[in-house]
């Protein structure tokens, strides 16, 4: 399909700004733009058709089943879009005085109450823009905490699991820490023996997802916590999998000192092709003084932004955070109320149902009940029929189903990471099971059907290697495409 730039015709336009009857000042010559930007020139009718066509070539939760493991692709309630569009929220300037933003501040404060109760930790910052930034914020809090205790130089290491999501080690590096990896044992828990060796006086803390990216709750979590705490180290909880345990277990009770939430996962945000997100961070009292500035506080029946935080690590993002995300998350929570546990219960039930029905057709590396997601291996298909997890994923597309996350976590070869979420009805789960069984049979009977998949999408399988070799990352307006040399 055409690019919007290819639909462009000189002289067309959609929008026209008002032009008041005033002289237009001159921009100083040396600062004035010489060559006009080649933005598309399109009238409104074709503009609307263009974005409509782009949407039609995009698969979303509204289109069908989207079991993308670790991403919690749950339904986005439509009332959330309605309330976030209220002028009082949508058209409120972030520099508005607190007296002029009491409703917004109260909403933030109420959301904080929910978050503290859910995590079992007393203090929250709403500022981080996503889980990854929450991680970075958490590590900065550790740094500040240990510096404050004079242990800053000594504690230079963060321990992560070998099952950890890529953001964990990446955050460790960006935060200026050394990385230490700990192995996973046969049941999918942290290997305690390995862990005991790796936690030393240099250890600042642990970063852990629990349930892990295998979808398994760490049965030794209490011991894990005591190992770190006994050595004066801290525990950081990566909240990406919180959807499994809300109302069933609390990170604070497990011994975690710092927690990030992925509001856009657990509490449903439109993922918008990659974002937005929200990554609030909750901490114990001892870490509260270091939280980013400003925080949202309540004085009697007034609410305000508190900038007077002398020991704060500072700001990690503009303003008080992605407010629109808070509006949706809070609306989502209110729809459940104290029964929010139902959300996790059904998420776990749906996942275990799929697990039970798929375990015979695919390999199950860790034979336990799972939590909200689980990981299968296509290793046998690879070995016996030369068909990979990627081929299975591409073939699923032909059944109108979005593939699960693949090749992650790394500890499982040919991994298929499946997270149905709580909002799927049984029929959708059954349709997925049928497709997966049929694909397993096809792998034996007609492997090329998988290797050449997808067959029924707007495009056939795309060449990702070629794309990276000679990157074309913007339209060339008919000139020679923009390229750079490939990596060695």
């Amino acid at each position: 399909m055409e690019l919007i730039f290819e639909r462009s015709r000189q002289g067309r336009r959609a929008g026209r700004p008002p032009q008041p009857d005033l002289p237009v000042p001159e921009v100083p010559a040396e600062l004035r733009r010489k060559r006009p930007p080649r933005l598309p020139e399109v009238a409104e009718p074709e503009l609307v058709r263009h974005f409509t066509a782009l949407a039609d070539r995009t698969f979303g939760i509204d289109t069908g089943f989207y079991p993308l493991g670790s991403c919690t692709m749950k339904h986005n309630p439509r009332v959330n879009e309605r309330v976030v569009a209220l002028p009082g929220f949508r058209d409120l300037h972030p520099h508005q005085e607190d007296e002029g933003a009491q409703g917004a501040l109260e909403l933030c404060w109420r959301l904080q109450q929910w978050l503290t109760e859910i995590a079992g930790l007393p203090a929250v910052t709403l500022q981080p823009a996503a889980g990854s930034q929450g991680e970075l914020t958490g590590l900065m809090l550790m740094r500040a905490y240990f510096a404050d205790r004079g242990e800053g130089d000594r504690r230079d290491t963060i321990v992560t699991a070998d099952t950890a999501h890529g953001t964990n080690p990446a955050s460790v590096t960006l935060a200026g820490y050394r990385l230490e990896k700990v192995a996973t044992d046969a049941r999918g828990n942290l290997d305690l023996a390995d862990l005991r060796e790796k936690v030393t006086e240099r250890t600042a803390g642990l970063m852990l997802t629990n349930p892990s990216t295998l979808g398994l709750f760490d049965e030794g979590i209490e011991e894990v916590a005591s190992i770190f705490h006994s050595r004066g180290a801290l525990l950081y909880y990566d909240g990406a999998n919180l959807n499994a345990i809300v109302g069933r277990s609390r990170p604070g009770d497990m011994g975690f000192d710092i927690v990030h939430y992925n509001l856009h996962k657990t509490f449903s945000q439109p993922h918008g092709g990659g974002g937005p997100g929200g990554g609030p961070v909750a901490v114990r009292e001892t870490l509260e003084p270091f939280l980013p500035s400003p925080t949202v506080v309540r004085d009697g029946d007034r609410f305000r932004l508190d900038f007077d935080r002398p020991r704060s690590i500072g700001r990690v993002r503009g303003f008080a955070g992605p407010f629109g995300v808070f509006v949706r998350a809070y609306a989502f929570m209110l729809a459940y109320g104290p029964a929010l546990r139902e959300m996790s219960d059904v998420a776990v039930l749906n996942a275990n149902y799929l697990l039970a029905r798929l375990r015979d057709a695919y390999e199950l590396p860790y034979d336990r009940h799972c939590m909200h997601e689980f990981v299968l291996s296509a290793r046998a298909l690879k070995r016996d029929h030369g068909v990979s997890a990627l081929d299975v994923a591409k073939r699923l597309m032909d059944f109108g189903i979005h593939p699960p996350t693949i090749y992650f976590p790394l500890v499982v070869p040919e991994a298929l990471m499946i997270e149905p979420t709580e909002t799927e009805p049984k029929e959708r789960l059954d349709a997925f099971v049928d497709a997966m069984h049929r694909i397993a049979r096809e792998a034996a009977d007609a492997p090329e059907l998988l290797r050449e998949a997808p067959h029924h999408r707007p495009v056939r399988r795309l060449d990702e290697v070629g794309a990276a070799k000679r990157p074309v990352v913007r339209y060339d307006f008919g000139e020679r495409p923009q390229t750079v040399e490939a990596e060695a």
């Binding site: 959609a14 509204d62 989207y66 300037h93 990854s132 960006l174 709750f217 459940y336 049984k426 750079v484």
Partner: protein
């Protein structure tokens, strides 16, 4: 619960298939000691209609631009967001899709990001743009990180006229990134290139803003040159809406251009979600943080789009990644694409001209009213700093009682500016609005 679909019959069948008698059994893998046994102590559940009513009440307690004539800016601006943006945001497929890891399922959103990258490159004069960063603050930190590793140097120079919030975020990131931050003061509202040249020695990057935090136009080309001469990467923090009239950073030698995208396509929404944009010269393409979409072909040779250069990213590179970013701000960036496409090249120029014309008019009108510009000899774009003769916060309070928010009290951020208001004019304001502002300031100053 209207978001859940399982009937009692479904549950029974499913539990049977799993081979357990209750959902509780599935949670037994959680050690007894860390199970949460009581009910959550939170607000009671509301029906959809009650949620709407509660939120209407909360929203009604905010003084938004529909009920208060506002001249607030200072980084976030009340530009008109066209209705075509609603089309993009209300398409369920775009709304509810996630990062396009599986390109064959997501050609639409991938193409849209490719188009967004193209628009950003065109506006900034750069070769490559990512699919968005968190906001205008974090992309500045991203730029500093690129520069640190590209140059092997650790010093980063920030113009004092760079938005204060942006500087705060860069400073927060600095320890982890191993950066040493140096700030260069302004002279009469803008940065002096000579001063900057000295500071730039041994620096990895110099980050300045155009138009700057006072609304003044920096001698950007000279600043970029000063940085380059010192071997530091010149990084410009720019406003997309200004780039119809103001020169593209790429055209005056910048290595990287970043900025807050909100002006293009996003409502104010009390500070977010918005998007930050980050574009750079080709040589930095493999150091870019975040998603990048590239063009490719499918098995049949047909044009298509994919996430590319993923070896930069955390899910492949892990601790060696160029960034830890996963979720970004794509939806907001696509709103930006829609807005920019709606404007087109002429519309973008006209928005700039209208903002500039209104700002000049407001300057003149307020000076007639006896107020004094803080930096009378600097050219501005859509925002300017003016002295109101008494604490600006008091002026704001008094003006708001009259239904006008006269601007940002910048004394919060800069020494000796407690009596200064930063006044922003967008194309949504009118000559009559400026009259009203002048009247009110006359009453309260």
């Amino acid at each position: 619960m209207g978001y859940l679909s399982l009937t009692d019959a479904d549950r029974e069948e499913m539990l049977a298939a799993i081979g357990v008698s209750s959902v509780d059994e599935l949670f037994e893998q959680i050690p007894r000691g860390v199970r949460f046994e009581r009910e959550l102590e939170v607000e009671p559940a509301l029906t959809e209609g009650e949620i709407v009513r509660l939120f209407e009440d909360l929203a009604a307690r905010n003084a938004h631009t529909g009920v208060e004539l506002s001249f607030l800016g200072a980084g976030i601006y009340d530009h008109y967001v066209p209705a075509v943006v609603d089309v993009v945001l209300s398409r369920g497929e775009l709304l509810t899709a996630y990062t396009p890891y599986q390109p064959e399922m997501s050609q639409g959103v991938l193409q849209a990001i490719f188009e967004y990258q193209t628009a950003i490159c065109e506006l900034t004069g750069m070769d490559v743009s990512n699919a968005s960063g968190y906001d205008g603050c974090t992309v500045a930190a991203d730029a500093a990180y690129i520069a640190r590793h590209a140059t092997g140097r650790s010093k980063v120079v920030l113009a004092e006229t760079l938005n204060p919030m942006v500087r705060q975020v860069v400073k927060t990131y600095a320890p982890g990134f191993g950066l040493e931050i140096v700030e260069v003061p302004h002279d009469r509202g803008v940065v002096d290139p000579d001063r900057l040249a000295k500071a730039a020695v041994d620096a990895a990057a110099v980050i300045f803003q155009q138009p700057n935090a006072f609304g003044c136009l920096e001698p950007a080309p000279d600043l970029a040159a000063a940085a380059s001469d010192a071997g530091a990467l010149p990084v410009a923090h720019v406003d997309l809406v200004s780039l119809g009239l103001l020169e593209a950073p790429g055209a005056y030698g910048c290595a990287i251009a970043v900025g807050e995208g909100q002006s293009a396509g996003n409502p104010l929404s009390y500070g977010g979600p918005h998007y930050g944009f980050l574009a750079a010269r080709n040589e930095f393409i493999r150091r870019m943080p975040g998603r990048i979409v590239g063009q490719t072909v499918d098995a049949a040779g047909k044009r298509g789009y994919v996430l590319t250069l993923q070896t930069r990213e955390q899910h492949i590179r892990r601790e060696k990644a160029t960034s830890n970013m996963t979720t970004n701000q794509t939806l907001l960036a696509l709103a930006g694409l829609a807005h920019l496409s709606w404007l087109g090249p002429r519309g973008l120029v006209e928005v700039g001209e209208t903002c500039m014309a209104l700002a000049e008019h407001a300057k003149a009108r307020l000076q007639d009213g006896g107020l004094e510009l803080v930096f009378p000899d600097q050219a501005t774009f859509k925002e300017f700093a003016i002295r109101v003769g008494r604490p600006a916060r008091d002026v704001v309070r008094a003006a708001r009682e009259r239904g006008v928010h006269p601007g940002y009290a910048i004394g919060r951020d800069y020494e000796g500016m407690d009596d200064v208001l930063l006044v922003a004019l967008t194309e949504k304001r009118t000559v009559a609005d400026v009259e009203r502002l002048a009247e009110v300031l006359a009453e309260v100053c």
